[in-house]
Amino acid sequence: MRTKLTVNTRDVSVEAPPTETLLTTLRDRLQLTGTKEACVEGECGACTVLLDGRPVDSCIYATAAAAGLSVTTVEGLCGLDGSLSPLQQSFVDHFAIQCGFCTPGLLMTLNALLEANPDPDREEIENAIAGNLCRCTGYTQIVEAVEAINQESLS
């Protein structure tokens, strides 16, 4: 079946079986491989994308259900000149990355958090990313990267 949606502000039309997941469409058809496949059970959050601004696990979300909606992936976070967003830059500056496989999903979840709550405290940040597994960092430097943005925006 044909589904029309917007991906990173670009209109796309895909022909895919009705059971195809958004993750498969993004990775295999649109070759947007920044969104990661890690569990395909909606458990780890590595495949998180924004759907009309709301974070969803693209591995258990049917592409057909995204018809007419706007999808943002990690590839859509940079500036037009390729510059990093403040959150991306803060991840780099605060060692919030180790292997980096969970990073795209975390960035999407945190973008949604900061959109809804521009000044989250530590507990709010931890709760927001409790659905994003990171095996490398132990999370502290990720939380600090988000806190640093708050401090910069307040100063």
């Binding site: 491989t33 569990c39 395909v40 590839e75 991306q88 180790q98 597994l133 490398c136």
Partner: protein, 758 residues
């Protein structure tokens, strides 16, 4: 000098990893690439009655299948040649590959595989280490005697015992006979799944002559050699290209899917991608081994440790992997940290009908130190001495000897680590109040000595290239440490150093990301290479500046004449001049740590004889127990860690924070129960990884006693943070509830059970 060493320079891969542009192994797409899936055993032990793949082959979009009948009839392995590629007559663990199908897409391969007709007659499985050593136990491998070992490498093994290391020094029985007190413990520890976020994968292509295998792997040279042995070609016929690695933690050191992808690519003439889904990845991963550890210590009238007797049973699963090396580790652990008389140790690793186990960050150190340090608490409690005070009064001094005969010249560092955690938070102030407890645990650990190399080239724009087969496994060893060391050598900022991704056709051997070795070994190799490169730079600049090379200084990307700073040329000018006149500037260095001397007759089966470049660490955990639910909450976690020299303090902190989080998962939540050879937990959700809401911020004190052989003094960093965590947590839980929980993980159910036992 720009002072790159000791500075928290940002990672070289930070932008790629935050923009989604970093290509991980799983992102590799080649023109014409096909997709493969494996048909796996559904039972832990059985005889294959029939296998009919005709409907699989006929399915539209399928290119074909491979089975044992199509592959070399040989077994291979890291040290013991005991693992077939495909099971033929018997299956020996759930998930063992039986056949491979290759198709246009992964979806087609999955649909086709569902049409396979496979009949297995289930036979009695050996599901536990106790069953494996029981009299008349069925043999997991009845043909174990026929398994080959590498030339010159032999060790005691028989039947289900795949490796045994034993040491029986004089005086143990006499000491027990004369002891005032004997304390005895038994500990049972579970498996731990590495649970890296990127499931294992491989993409292989064959050009009619040679293979190229694309991996996200910690040890590309091992892939080359192991695939060559498994499929019967020369190593030089295989090129391994490394991409970004979505975590490994030891599980991506041995081969897994690569030999199948290579065979399929050759057979079907197209590039082939083979990747695990999460469930099969969990079921077949070489997890940290589960173990049963019995430990008994004889104590004198003044509390002195007279002698010890230790028996360790490790579960190797259905093949040996690297476990025959790991049966040596108790020899480095049970006589360490505290002064003690003779120590008798018998360690046996056994075959069971479960997925093969193997390396996980800190290997069996996690459960060996759990046993040692939980046991130390029990001794102190029995003697009615404060647990910290008892440890401190028995610490080994500089120059002490391990049971292997290895001398630890710097063992006294451990005392400073105890001081450092006391400064972070005084022992007497922790674990106070109802349902609260505090635990302390120490460890001594090695820096893996295996060889590595680096080639440096000074580019004509003044940047420095570093060519190495070492891998960036997430730790920052390449993305920060190695890069900063190379920068420091030439007065460059780190941004001007470019380290290659690994390619076995290009860079010389490197032993991979294991045992905290990369910064230490590759950093030292860079320093060796830099001697040659520096000489070329100064010779060239001397001609340009009409000065003697010994009068020149190299700093801030410039070469200048001492005392005449206006007489200077840039590194870029030097590189361009050399390139035009005498040839490009480059040099190569190699390094491997010499093994410390030991007493070779101290034990039999000691394949891993010593702990080179030791480091010393102390962890303290404060916990609170909910007596209604049994849930353990970690309130504070302190680490004092010896690192030699922190090349990048924030990267070091990341290793400690992340290692402790993995240790907390091991200690408290992560569960792989084995029921008649099958895992009860089969998804990430059921397995129970630590979440952001579970993990406290770790309070850290770094100790820096530079290693004269290490680059700028650096020692290994990444493994130690996970090692004493379960011990510290176990000791804190026992302190809180007044009951001993001698298992890992210490789940809420275990705590409740202990509380209900009066």
């Amino acid at each position: 000098m720009t002072g790159e060493v000791g500075r928290s320079s940002i990672r070289s891969d930070g932008a790629a990893k935050t923009t989604g542009k970093a290509i991980f192994g799983t992102d590799v797409i080649l023109p014409g690439m096909l997709h493969a899936r494996l048909l796996r055993s559904t039972v832990p032990a059985g005889r294959i009655i029939s296998l009919d793949l005709s409907k699989v082959v006929e399915f539209p979009g399928v290119h074909g299948v491979l089975t044992a009948a199509d592959t070399p009839n040989q077994r291979s392995g890291l040290v013991l040649m005991d693992a077939p590629l495909f099971a033929s007559e018997f299956v020996r663990f759930e998930g063992e590959p039986i056949a491979a199908v290759v198709a246009d897409t992964r979806a087609i391969a999955n649909q086709a595989l569902a049409l396979a007709s496979l009949e297995i007659e289930e036979i009695h499985s050996v599901g536990s280490v106790e069953e494996a050593i029981a009299p008349n136990a069925p043999l997991v491998h009845p043909d174990w005697e026929s398994f080959a070992t590498p030339p010159g490498l032999e060790w005691p093994r028989s039947g289900n015992i795949v490796a045994e290391t034993s040491s029986d020094p004089e005086g143990v029985d006499e000491a027990f006979a004369g002891a005032t007190t004997v304390v005895e413990d038994q500990f049972e520890t579970g498996r731990q799944y590495q649970a890296y976020m990127e499931p294992r994968m491989a993409v292989a292509e064959f050009d009619g002559q040679r293979f190229t295998i694309h991996v996200a792997h910690q040890f590309p040279y091992n892939v080359r050699d192991r695939v060559a042995a498994a499929i019967g070609v020369n190593p030089s016929e295989i090129r391994v290209v490394g991409h970004h690695i979505g975590g490994g933690f030891g599980a991506k050191l041995d081969t897994g899917l690569e030999p199948y992808a290579a065979l399929l690519a050759r057979r079907f003439g197209r590039p082939v991608r083979l990747a695990n889904d999460r469930s099969e990845d969990l079921l077949t991963c070489q997890c940290r081994d589960n173990a049963v550890i019995k430990i008994r210590t004889a104590i004198g009238k003044n509390g002195e440790l007279l002698a010890r007797d230790v028996d360790v049973l490790m579960d190797s699963g259905a093949s040996a992997t690297d476990i025959p090396f790991l049966t040596s580790i108790p020899m480095h652990v049970f006589g360490s940290l505290y002064r003690i008389g003779p120590v008798r140790i018998r360690t046996r690793a056994v075959y069971t009908n479960t997925a093969p186990t193997g390396a996980f960050r800190g290997v069996n150190g996690t459960h060996l130190y759990f046993a040692l340090e939980r046991h130390m608490d029990h001794i102190a409690n029995r003697l009615n001495i404060d647990r910290l005070e008892y440890r401190r009064s028995n610490l080994q001094p500089d120059g002490c000897k391990l049971p292997t005969g290895q001398v630890l010249n710097d063992a006294g560092i451990l005392s400073e680590a105890f001081d450092a955690v006391e400064q972070l938070a005084p022992w007497n102030g922790l674990g106070q109040g109802p349902n609260r407890g505090v635990g302390i645990a120490a460890c001594m650990w090695l820096t893996n000595p295996m060889p590595g190399s680096a080639t440096l080239k000074l580019n004509s724009d003044g940047t420095l290239g570093v060519l190495t087969a070492a891998t960036e496994n997430g730790s920052g060893a390449i993305a920060t440490g190695v890069r900063q060391i190379a920068a420091e050598e030439f007065g460059l900022p780190a941004e001007k150093v470019i380290v290659t991704m690994p390619d076995t056709d290009a860079a010389a051997f490197d032993a991979g990301s294991q045992g905290s070795r990369t910064t230490h070994i590759v950093g030292r190799a860079i320093r060796e290479a830099a001697i040659e490169v520096r000489a070329q730079i100064l010779d060239t600049a001397a001609d340009m500046l009409e000065a003697a090379p010994e009068d020149l200084e190299l700093a801030n990307e410039m070469v200048s004449v001492s005392g005449s700073p206006s007489k200077q040329v840039s590194l870029a000018e030097v590189a361009a001049t050399a390139q035009a006149n005498s040839g490009p500037i480059s040099g190569t260095g190699s390094y491997t740590t010499p093994m410390p001397p030991i007493n070779p007759t101290c034990a039999s089966g000691l394949l891993f004889p010593a702990f080179p470049t030791p480091t010393y660490h102390v962890h303290v955990a404060e916990v609170e127990i909910d007596p209604a639910t049994g849930i353990v909450r970690v309130l504070r976690y302190l680490v004092a860690q010896e690192v030699g020299k922190a090349i990048n303090p924030q990267a070091v902190r990341g290793q400690i924070q992340g290692g402790v989080a993995q240790g907390l998962g091991y200690a408290l939540w992560e569960t792989l129960q084995i029921d008649a050879g099958r895992y009860s937990q089969r998804t990430l959700e059921a397995y129970g990884l630590p979440l952001a809401t579970d993990t406290p911020e770790v309070e850290i004190a770094l100790l820096e006693h530079p290693d004269p052989a290490g680059p700028y003094g650096a020692k290994g960093v990444a493994e130690p943070p996970i090692i004493p965590v379960a011990a510290a947590i176990g000791n804190a839980v026992e302190h809180a509830i007044g009951k001993s929980v001698n298992t890992i993980p210490i789940t809420a159910e275990h705590v409740l059970e202990a509380l209900s036992n009066s």
